[in-house]
Each structure stands twice: as C-alpha cells, then as structure tokens.
Symmetry: C2
Subunit: 192 residues, 2 copies
DNA sequence: ATTTGACTATTATCGTTTATTAGTCAAATA
DNA sequence: TATTTGACTAATAAACGATAATAGTCAAAT
C-alpha cells in the first residue's frame, strides 16, 4: 500500500472513530491528512467504500489474531475456545469504528456494511464449528445435536454482549466475571 | 376493568400487532372497537400510554407464566432454569407488540417504553439470581464469582436470541436445538 | 362515572429553496 | 504511466412554509 493511501486510511480511521461516519466529511479527512480530496477518491472511490476499508481493517486485524488462536497446534479445544472468547472481546473493545456500526439508531444507514459483517460472522462460525468438531473427535467435547447451531448460538451470545459492553459502558463490570462464565461454558460442553 | 376499556385494549392490541405502532391511528382503533375516540382518551390518556398498556399486558402475561415456574415447590433449580428458558421463548414468540419494540430502525422511537422493558429485565434478573442462589445453597449448582453477573449474562443471551428468532424468522430452525443448548448450560452450572 | 363526536392542537408530509458535502476531472507532477 | 491536486459539478441534507393527517380536548348527553 502506498504511503499516501496508508496515510489517508489511518487518518480516516482516526477521524471516523472520533466523530462517527456521518459527522465526518471527506474534506475534513483530506485536510487532516494534508492531501487533496481527489486522492481520497483516487484510492477509495467513495466515502462508503472508505469506511468499509476502515472497518475491514479492524476486522482483518481481529481475524489475524483469532487465526493464531484457532490454529494453535496441540492445544485442547477447550483452551482454544476460552482463548478465542477472551481475545475476541479484547479486540472488539478497541475496534471503535466497528462499534459504531452497532448503534441501533444507525442500523438502516449501515446497510452497505451488512455483507462485511455477514462475511465475518460466517468466518467465525466456520472456525468455531471446526474447533467444536475437532473437540468432539478428540473426545474432549460432548455435544448432542447440530454442532453448527452451537457455533451460531455462541456467536449470538458474544455479539449480544457487544451492545452492553461497548455501547453501554459495562465493559469493566461484566468482563471481570467473563473468565468464570467461560469456565462454565467449557464445562458444559466438556466430555466428563 | 370495564367492558369498554377491555374492548378498547384488545382491539388496540390486535390493530397495533397488525400495522405497528406508527401506522395505527387512534381513529382506526376507536372505529374498529365501535367506540368513540374520546373513550380511548378517557381510559388511556394518550396513544403512547395505550401502547404501553398493550406491551405491559403481554409482559404481564409472561411474568405470570414465569412466576408459576420460578415458584414451583420442590423442584431442582436446574429444571426450573430449563423450564424458564423454554417458556420464555415460547411466550415471547407470540408477543407481537413486544417484538415490534425490538426493531432497531424504531429504537429511538420507543424510548417511552424503556422503563417498561428495564423493569421487566430487572424482574427477570432478580428471579434468575434467586433461583441460582437457591441452586447453590442446595448443592445443585456450582458458580464461582458473582451470581448476579451470571443472571445478567443469561438474560443477555436470551435477549440476544430475540432478534434472530423473531425478526429474522429463524425461530423454527434454532428452537429445534434449543433443548440441547439448555442441557449444555445446565451441565455447565451443575455441581458434579 | 362514562361515553360521544365535533372541535382544536400537533405533528407528519410535501414542495421549494439554500447550504453543505459527496464526487469529478483536466491539468500538474513525479 | 501512476499519482496528486483543487477548482468545479452533482447530489444530498437542512431550513422553511403550506397542507394534510392524526393526536388530543371538551361540553353535552347518557
């Protein structure tokens, strides 16, 4: 990625995270980055696509970090699940532009991001399903019924926590008990 | 409750559930109930308060049904938790006016209902906390850390399911595995 | 105490103008 | 050739008034 493009992207990320998508203008981003507005459009084509790139970069970072965890060799599937949940929450907590998309009052405005979020959901669901299947194969886990549905519900739970944690400022309070909760969940799925 | 008031309330509930709060007019409700509009205002004071009553009546029904479950004598706390989760989802599935308040595009418009929902949340949290505490006292459950936070997270999970289940039409698909999931959760919190 | 419906007050909607901001492009630069 | 620039245009949001729809009132009737 060229230095100009990189500069524009990081400036956009900072500005969007400060004022939100709708209260940030392209002129403002260009000015902050000390570049011409034309360069923004040369590299990103539109404001929506620029914001997409910003959110995508946050999700790509999350994906990279999670990939390390999911692919850790010789690790008990329960430990992978634990590490996954913890890491996910930590990174989401600092993904300010992703958090912006959670605001229900903007729900309809972010439709152009639906596919990005959906793609991430599918990726996570796939990874969770794989690790659950591996756990069952290794006799570490015991899961009656459809494994994919468990993966889906785990994701629903984690995503359900996002609003209280990141938008309603309960991160500190709830995260303190998160380890205990993870313990219970893994106990629930463990083969005893 | 007077017959007129009852008639108005049930007509309002039907009409709101059919067209939603904003696309239903007071004239329409009065006409459907074959009453004068003045009667609506005599009994309910405003459109918002009328809708409140409608949603409250759905939540009161839920409360009543759950109270029976929570207060069942001589019942294992795990069975109470299981019955609670199942019953909650069944009743929520038919509480159409409550479901309307879940729509994120209307989020800001339903602020006058926030206290009703919050009150229900607190009630549920209190009931769950009580049953978890009872379970621990009876040596049926094992929960390290703050019990209230578990109650809160269980509620977050159940409420997180509402949107996929009721608004995105996944009720049939996901509910089929719900029993298995409940089994896992109760296993996770059980003292072994 | 309750019910009624003609009436008033508010709020949504539409059309128009103005201001802001998204998006373009020919020329300059490297 | 690929990139950068900023004056320029096009599209959209905000502001405003006029009109339509609907929330809410109240004196009279039951």
């Amino acid at each position: 990625m060229s230095p100009t493009k990189e500069k524009l992207l990081s400036t956009a990320s900072k500005t969007f995270s400060k004022y939100g998508f709708y209260k940030t203008s392209m002129d403002e981003i260009a000015k902050s980055a000390r570049k011409a507005k034309g360069s923004l459009y040369y590299h990103f084509n539109s404001k929506e696509l620029l914001f997409r790139e910003v959110v995508l970069s946050e999700l790509d970072f999350l994906k990279e970090e999670l990939t390390v965890i999911f692919n850790a060799p010789n690790t008990d599937s329960r430990d992978i699940i634990k590490a996954y949940m913890t890491k996910r929450m930590m990174i989401m907590n600092i993904s300010i532009n992703y958090q912006e998309t959670l605001r229900p009052e903007f729900y309809e405005f972010y439709e152009f991001l639906n596919d990005v979020i959906l793609e991430m959901d599918l990726w996570e669901k796939k990874q969770i399903t794989a690790i659950l299947n591996k756990g069952v194969a290794n006799d570490e886990l015991e899961l009656p019924g459809d494994i994919e549905v468990y993966a889906e519900m785990l994701l629903i739970f984690l995503k359900g926590l996002e609003t209280p944690l990141f938008l309603k400022g309960q991160y500190e309070r709830l995260i303190s008990n998160f380890d205990n909760l993870i313990g219970i969940l893994t106990k629930g799925i463990s083969k005893l």
